[in-house]
């Protein structure tokens, strides 16, 4: 029953796929129930957002926006040589394009507010990333990041110290303590045989890592499989398949609308939009609740692709209605396990084990797993020849470090953290097995596993608690709670102040300095004028010996009100012996000029 007059809406197959029913995010039923992201702000951290365009302007949030490249509050994209800074605007359109304006398209969460942080259009440092991840974090609920380190099949990079600290700070203090939601696109380098476990943003436990499937539910040529990816959603695929239709910028070659948005960049904002719908239903969902809901409700879309699992958003975003918060995050960190063991060049891999006992977990209360991370230091003459697998106690295998043919880096891994979400919900106790294989040239030098460390994240939930929660979700997925007004109460958030007040931009600062300089100059000039005019008059010899002749005041001076200050410093004496002084009023000083002649008689004794 949902109809919009936006000309490209019928082509937005990801919202309503008429050609292949079911191959969409199934969101129209949610909209029908007035769940549109109202009250939620999503910020696109990218190359800017053209917020003046019709599809964005009504939902634009200037309060949540900032330009870190130019250091001002306006994230408007700047045209560049390659007509390339349309990326953020396209992502913003996917999330919150305004419907029924006859302009272009419709956003997944068209009732939400959309902000922009411009940070990708210039040199970027760790500190800038850190600022971006926490910018206006009491206003912005969801940070959508469709970017990351190069997906060239040879890069190993991710957030550095400050970026990591900002992500952690965001989930602790952002969104009134419920935690900022960081959605990151990952796995865009399939054609380079890349793997998103070499992307630190994807490995981070604080991010919702999103990949892509095409309209047919298959892995596109650019997609990567990886164990730290939480879910996938739709995007473009091969040439014969449709890309994502969304709002575009109208600068340079842009027309305000595009049918060619693709890659994981196009998938992540759809997930951000769906999370915005969840947060409207239940604003007090924590960052971990959001991850749990995705893990518990995502469905496998392709038997050949273990990590591709978008689910029916229709029910998924209504799951929050019955969702009570997950218990606190519990963790276990093993000692740093120094191995110094060679990785055989034969087919036989190196295996190392670590047993986590019940006593080890008693301290934190950790019972079931969420993210499992392994930090390794390995020396190897050709890093891309390594294959790293982690087996959880249940036997679940995660390929946490896939071999990469293009990665010939001779430095190996230096405290690199791989992670997996494949053991989510399993018992934490037991033996973990790290298996490292050298799949490279057998004539090269053997690598050495220097050390490793196991880090488990999870909660005090027992496997029984998890099953109970799954049963609750299944009953909610049946549609049971769709039609009644059932909602759980939401606790209030914490009162955490946003940034330290307003930061003055360079332009404002320059203006203030100019005004200040002008004021100082004018004050000096004014004082000087007063001083000089008074001195000239006060020392006129004529005033000492005879009646004081006041200098002629110009009409202009009177109008400007400068007359008072330029009167001579006269000491007047009235016939009754009283003193006149400049402390008297201007009216009193005007008396000699204004009084009729008869009243002036006897006042001529005024002396300078």
């Amino acid at each position: 029953s949902v109809h919009f007059n936006d000309p490209k809406y019928p082509q937005q197959w990801h919202l309503n796929n008429r050609r292949s029913p079911g191959r969409d995010i199934n969101v129209t039923g949610v909209w029908e129930r007035n769940v549109t992201g109202r009250g939620v702000t999503v910020v696109v951290v990218d190359d800017g957002v053209e917020h003046t365009i019709q599809d964005i302007a009504p939902n634009y949030s200037p309060e949540g926006s900032y330009d870190l490249n130019s250091n001002d509050p306006d994230p408007m994209p700047h045209p560049d040589l390659e007509n390339g800074n349309h990326h953020g605007t396209r992502c913003a359109g996917e999330i919150a394009a305004v419907p029924n304006n006859s302009f272009c398209a419709v956003g997944v969460a068209f009732g939400s507010r959309i902000a922009g942080i411009r940070v990708l259009d210039g040199p970027l440092t760790d500190s800038m990333e850190a600022v971006a991840f926490n910018k206006h974090y009491q206003i912005n609920d969801i940070y959508s990041c469709s970017w990351g380190p190069d997906d060239d099949g040879k890069t190993v990079d991710g957030p550095h110290q400050l970026g990591k600290a900002a992500l952690q700070h965001g989930v602790i203090a952002g969104r009134q303590g419920f935690g900022s939601i960081f959605v990151v696109a990952s796995g865009n380098g399939g054609q380079h045989n890349d793997n998103c476990n070499y992307d630190g943003y994807a490995n981070s436990i604080y991010t919702v890592t999103i990949g892509a499937v095409d309209e047919e539910g298959r892995m596109p040529f650019y997609a990567e499989e990886c164990a730290s990816m939480l879910a996938v959603t739709f995007s473009g695929g091969d040439k014969m398949l449709r890309s994502i239709v969304t709002t575009d910028w109208d600068l340079q070659k842009g027309t305000g609308c595009t049918e060619g948005h693709t890659g994981t960049s196009a998938a992540a904002p759809l997930a951000a939009g769906m999370i915005a719908l969840m947060l409207q239903v239940r604003p007090c969902l924590t960052w971990r609740d959001v991850q749990h809901i995705i893990v518990f409700t995502a469905t496998r879309v392709s038997p050949s692709q273990a990590d591709a699992r978008p689910g029916p958003a229709h029910f998924r975003v209504l799951i929050p209605r019955v969702w009570t918060s997950v218990p606190y995050l519990a963790s276990y960190v093993s000692p740093v396990l120094k191995e110094n063991k060679a990785i055989p060049l034969s087919a036989r891999p190196l295996e190392v084990l670590w047993n986590v006992s019940r006593m080890d977990l008693d301290m934190s209360g950790l019972k079931t797993l969420e993210h499992v991370a392994v930090t390794v230091s390995i020396t190897h003459p050709r890093r891309g020849s390594l294959e790293v697998k982690l087996f959880c106690p249940s036997g679940m295998m995660s390929l946490i470090g896939a071999p990469r043919s293009l990665d010939s880096d001779p430095n190996g891994f230096n405290d690199w953290t791989f992670s997996t979400v494949r053991c989510w919900g399993e018992r934490a106790k037991g033996t973990y097995r790290l298996v490292i294989r050298d799949v490279g040239d057998k004539t090269s030098q053997a690598g050495v596993l220097r050390q490793w460390q196991l880090i488990l994240y999870g909660s005090v939930w027992s496997p029984v608690d998890i099953r109970d929660r799954q049963r609750l979700l299944e009953s909610a997925m049946s549609g049971k709670y769709l039609h009644d007004g059932f909602t759980l109460p939401c606790p209030p958030g914490l009162n955490i102040p946003d940034e330290n007040g307003y930061t003055i931009t360079p332009n404002t600062l320059k203006t203030l300095v100019l005004i200040g300089c002008f004021t100082i100059f004018w004050t000096i000039y004014y004082l000087l004028e007063v001083y000089l005019s008074q001195r000239n008059v006060a020392f006129r010899p004529i005033c000492r010996s005879g009646p004081c002749h006041w200098p002629q005041r110009s009409q202009k001076a009177k109008e400007e009100g400068t007359e008072l200050e330029s009167v001579p410093l006269c000491s007047s004496q009235d016939p009754d012996g009283g003193d006149w002084s400049l402390s008297q009023s201007r009216g009193a000083l005007d008396v000699p000029q204004l009084l009729p002649p008869d009243l002036l008689q006897g006042k001529e004794a005024q002396m300078c």
Partner: protein, 104 residues
């Protein structure tokens, strides 16, 4: 000016360091840390560009604007590193390098 430089300071292409300072917590901590950051900036010959976003105790120190020869840059780098390494208030420091990030 936090985190991004401003007039009179080198942009992200110039030398800059992120530092984490030890300091008091609670009321007045922010002012105390700010003073320490100013003092540290003075000791290193850099400018305090302010706190890094919302990260308490983290400050960005940047090289004042001006062209320098490569040799001078290296000398400045070594000098700053030496001061930061032995300064008692500095818990951690890191020179800010350009990161390569791509749209996906």
């Amino acid at each position: 000016l936090v985190g991004a430089g401003g007039p009179g300071v080198q942009g992200p292409r110039g030398l800059s360091w992120a530092v984490r300072l030890d300091g008091p917590e609670g009321k007045g901590a922010e002012e105390s840390l700010e003073r320490r950051a100013d003092a540290l900036a003075q000791a290193t010959g850099l400018m305090n560009a302010g706190r890094i976003g919302e990260l308490q105790g983290h400050y960005l120190l940047v090289q004042p604007a001006g062209h320098r020869q490569a040799r001078q840059v290296e000398a400045v780098r070594q000098q700053v590193e030496a001061v930061l390494a032995r300064h008692e208030a500095v818990r951690w420091h890191s020179e800010q390098r350009l990161l390569k990030r791509t749209k996906r």
